[in-house]
C-alpha cells in the first residue's frame, strides 16, 4: 500500500533531477524545448490562421516546434495577462495586435503594463482595413456619407466587430476626424458585421481585403485606411483629407516576449522570425490567405508602438467623453 507512492516519489525525484541537470547543461542551447505562443483571441480568427501558417514554417528556423495556445476572453486581456506573468525565459511568446496591445490600457485598468512588461520580437505583417457599403447603397462616396451623417447625427448605422476591436477603431477614428456622430452597432466579429451590411441592417462596416474580395460585386468599398492604395480605384483615407487616420487604423500583427528575456535569446528569436518572413512556403501560404508579408523588425516596431500609445490615449479620451 505504501510502496506505490514512495516509488512514484523516487521516480519523480529522479525525473526532476534529470530535468534540472538537462537545463543546466543546455542553458546556452536555446531553444531546447517547444516554444508556446499565446494568442489572446479565439479559434478560427485571422490571428489563429496566421499563426497556423507561421508555426508550420518556424521550426526550420528556431529548431524547435512552436505550439499555439489560444486564450481568448475579456477583449484579449486574459491571454495578455497570462503572457505577462509567464517566465521571461523565451519559451512563452504572445501573438497579438496593436488594438489589444496599446489600446486596452486606455480603456480599462489592466493587471499588467504593456509598455513595461513586454518587448517586441517582430511585426509579422499588417492588415489595411477598408470601409464598405452594400452595392445598392445610396452612398457612392465617403463624402456623401459623411455629409448625410453631419446633417442627421445618429442616422447612419456603423456595424463593427466589437467594442475597441479591429473594425471599430478605424471607423471610430474616421468619425472623430470628420467630427460626425453615427449609431455604432457591435457584432460578434467581422463576419456577422458583414452579414449585417448585406442584410441591410446597418449602412456600412469596416473589413479586411480578403473578406471584401470574396464578396465580389455585392459590396462597394469607399475608402481604405492605409498609406497606399489596396484596391486600384478606391482612395486612401489620406487622399480624402484624413492624413492621421491610417496610422491609428491599420491592424499590426505582432509577436511580443515578456520583458526580462535574456538578450541572446531575444536576438535568436528576432533572427528566427526575420528568416521565417523570407521563407517561400510562408509567403505563398500568407498570399493565399489574402495577407501581406510586410515584415518589420522588433526595434523598428518599438518606435511605432510608442506613437500608438499617445494616439490611442487621445482617441479613447475623445470617444468616451
Amino acid at each position: 500500500m505504501f510502496q506505490l507512492p514512495r516509488r512514484m516519489f523516487v521516480a519523480a525525484a529522479v525525473a526532476a533531477g534529470v530535468a534540472l541537470a538537462g537545463a543546466a547543461a543546455f542553458a546556452e542551447d536555446y531553444p531546447s524545448k517547444p516554444i508556446t505562443m499565446i494568442i489572446p483571441l479565439g479559434a478560427g480568427g485571422s490571428h489563429d490562421l496566421n499563426a497556423r501558417v507561421m508555426t508550420s514554417v518556424l521550426p526550420s528556423y528556431l529548431g524547435e516546434p512552436v505550439v499555439v495556445q489560444l486564450m481568448p476572453g475579456a477583449s484579449g486581456r486574459i491571454g495578455t495577462a497570462a503572457a505577462a506573468k509567464s517566465k521571461p525565459d523565451g519559451y512563452t511568446l504572445l501573438f497579438t495586435h496593436n488594438f489589444i496591445d496599446e489600446l486596452q490600457q486606455h480603456v480599462t485598468k489592466l493587471p499588467y503594463d504593456p509598455n513595461k512588461d513586454f518587448v517586441v520580437v517582430a511585426r509579422t505583417n499588417y492588415a489595411p482595413p477598408s470601409l464598405v457599403v452594400r452595392a445598392d447603397s445610396k452612398y457612392k462616396t465617403l463624402k456623401e456619407m459623411l455629409a448625410d451623417a453631419k446633417a442627421n447625427p445618429g442616422k447612419v448605422k456603423f456595424g463593427h466587430s466589437g467594442q475597441w476591436g479591429a473594425a471599430m477603431v478605424p471607423g471610430a477614428a474616421l468619425l472623430q476626424a470628420a467630427g460626425v456622430k453615427m449609431t455604432l452597432v457591435p457584432y460578434k466579429g467581422g463576419g456577422p458585421a458583414m452579414r449585417g451590411v448585406l442584410a441591410g441592417d446597418v449602412d456600412f462596416t469596416v473589413a479586411f481585403p480578403s473578406v471584401i474580395t470574396s464578396q465580389g460585386d455585392k459590396v462597394r468599398t469607399l475608402v481604405t485606411f492605409a498609406d497606399k492604395r489596396v484596391f486600384k480605384d478606391v482612395p486612401t483615407s489620406g487622399e480624402l483629407g484624413f492624413p492621421d487616420v491610417a496610422s491609428i487604423a491599420t491592424m499590426q500583427r505582432i509577436v511580443l516576449a515578456p520583458a526580462g528575456i535574456p538578450k541572446d535569446r531575444l536576438a535568436k528569436l528576432r533572427e528566427g522570425f526575420a528568416k521565417m518572413s523570407k521563407d517561400k512556403t510562408y509567403m505563398k501560404l500568407l498570399d493565399k490567405l489574402g495577407e501581406n508579408d510586410e515584415f518589420m523588425t522588433g526595434a523598428d516596431y518599438q518606435k511605432m508602438r510608442e506613437k500608438q500609445d499617445k494616439s490611442y490615449a487621445t482617441l479613447v479620451k475623445e470617444l468616451t467623453k
Binding site: G44, T108, K157, Q163, V185, R195, T213, G216, L285
Partner: protein, 508 residues
Amino acid sequence: MLHSILASIDLLMRLDTLLMMSFGLVLGIFIGALPGFTTTMAMAVLLPISFFLSPVVGIPFLIGVYKGGIYGGSIPAVLVGIPGTGASVATTYDGLPLTKKGQSRKALDMALAASAIGDFVASFFTILLIGPIALIAMKFGPPELAAVMLLSMLIIAFSGTTMVIKSLMMLLLGMFFAMIGQDPIGALSRFTFGFFPIESGINLLPMLIGLFAIPEVLLSIEEKTKPFVEKSVRPEGDRLTLHELSECKRTIARSTVLGAVIGVIPGVGQVVAALMAYAAAKTASPHPEKFGTGILEGVAAPEAANNAVNGPTMVPLLTLGIPGDNITAILLGAFVVQGLRPGPQLFAQQAPLIYAILFSMIIACVLLYALGYLLIPLFSKVVMIRKAYLVPLTIVFAFVGTYVYRSNVFDLYFLIFFGLLGYAARKLSFDVTPLVMAFILTPVLEYSLGQSILLSQGNLLHYVVIERPLALGIILATPLLTYLMWYRTRKLRNPNPVNGTLPLPAEQ
C-alpha cells in the same frame, strides 16, 4: 445545377478523399470523447494538415473531424454522464440511466444511428435547398435572434419535470452566472468586484462537467453498496436491434427537422437544438414520464437534432463567405489557404467544387456510421471497469478535462463550485437544465437585444412592429407555444407523487 452536381461527384470519388475523411472521423470521435477537448480545438490543431492537401481531400478531412467530434461527445455522456460538449448535455438524461441498466451498447448504437441519420437527411436537404436556406438565414438579424432566444428559454423552463417556479429560479440563476464578466456591448466589467481572473466570465466547460459529472460521482459514492452496473457476463449489454431503431423513427424525424431548422438560424447552434428536441420528444410522447429513466428515445432525440444542425450551418459560409460559428470559421481558413474564398464569387465560378464539399458531408455520415459501429464495442468496455476505479477515474477526467481546456486554474474552482451546486440541486429536486440553457443563451439574447435597441435608434417597439415582421411573429407566438408545452407536460409536475412512481429529477 444538375451538371454541377454530377461534376462534383466525379471530383469526390477518389480513394485518398475517403481515406482522409475516415482518418478525420476517427480522430474526431476520439477527441470528442475526451472531456475538455473540443471539436473546435481539434480542428484548429489539425488545420495545417489540410494546407498541404488538395481541396477535395483536405476539406473533407476537416469535415470528418467535425462530424466525428460532434458524435464523439455523446460517448462519455452515455457511459459516465460527462457531457463532452454542450451539445450532448441532453444525451446524459437517458444515456447514463441506460448504461446503469446494463444497456450501454444499445445507447451508444442509438446515439450513432440517430446522429448519422439526422446528419445525412439534413445535409441532403441542405444541398437541395441551399438557395432558399441562404435567403432565410439572411432574414435572421439581431431582433429575430433575440426573439428565438427568449422563446427557447421559456420552452425549456415550462416543459421541465420540476415545478415551473423551480425551473424559473434555475433559469434566473443561469442568467446571472452568464452576466458575470464583461458586458457584451460596451465591454465593461460586471460582478467581478475588480477581480481580474473572472473578467472573461465563467466558462461553459467547468460548469457542464461540474453540474453533471461531480454530482454523479458523489451520488455513486453514497450508493456504494449498489454496483454501477448490475453484474452479468456482459455488462455492456446487447446491440441495438432494427426493431428498436424503427420504434424511434418518429422521434428521429422530428428531431432532424427541428435540428435542421435551428441550423438555418445563424448563431443558435447544437446545444439549443439538442435540448429543444429532447423537450419536444417528451411533449409529443404518449409516455412522457418515462423520459429520464433510461429509454432509447431519450438518446435518439437530442443526438439526431444536434447532428442535423451541421448541414445548414455550412450554408452562410458557402454562399456568403460568412462563418456562423468557430467551426465554420476554421473551415473558412482551410478554404482560403487553398486559394478559395467562399462567397457569392466562388459559388458562381466553382459550383462543382462547392457541391463536392457538400456531398462529402453526406459521405461522411455514411462513413461515420460504419466507423462508429466498429469502434463502439471498444468504448462500451468502459463499463467493465470496476466502480472502485471508474469513480476516481471520472474525477481525474473531470479535473484534467477542465484544466486542459484553457489552462486556467480558476476553472477548477468553478468546477468544484458547480459540482456542489449540482449536487445540492439533485438533493433538492431542482433540474439544472434551465440553468445550463440560460447560461448558454443569455449572452446571445443580451447581445442581440442590445444590438436591436441600437438598430432601432431608441424606439424598439416601432422598429419591431414596422420593420421586423418576422421578429414580431416569433414574439407573438411565444406565449402560445410556451402554454402548449406547459399544458402537455403538466402531469409530470405533480408536486405530491402519490406512491413515488413518478420520476423525480434526481433520477435524471
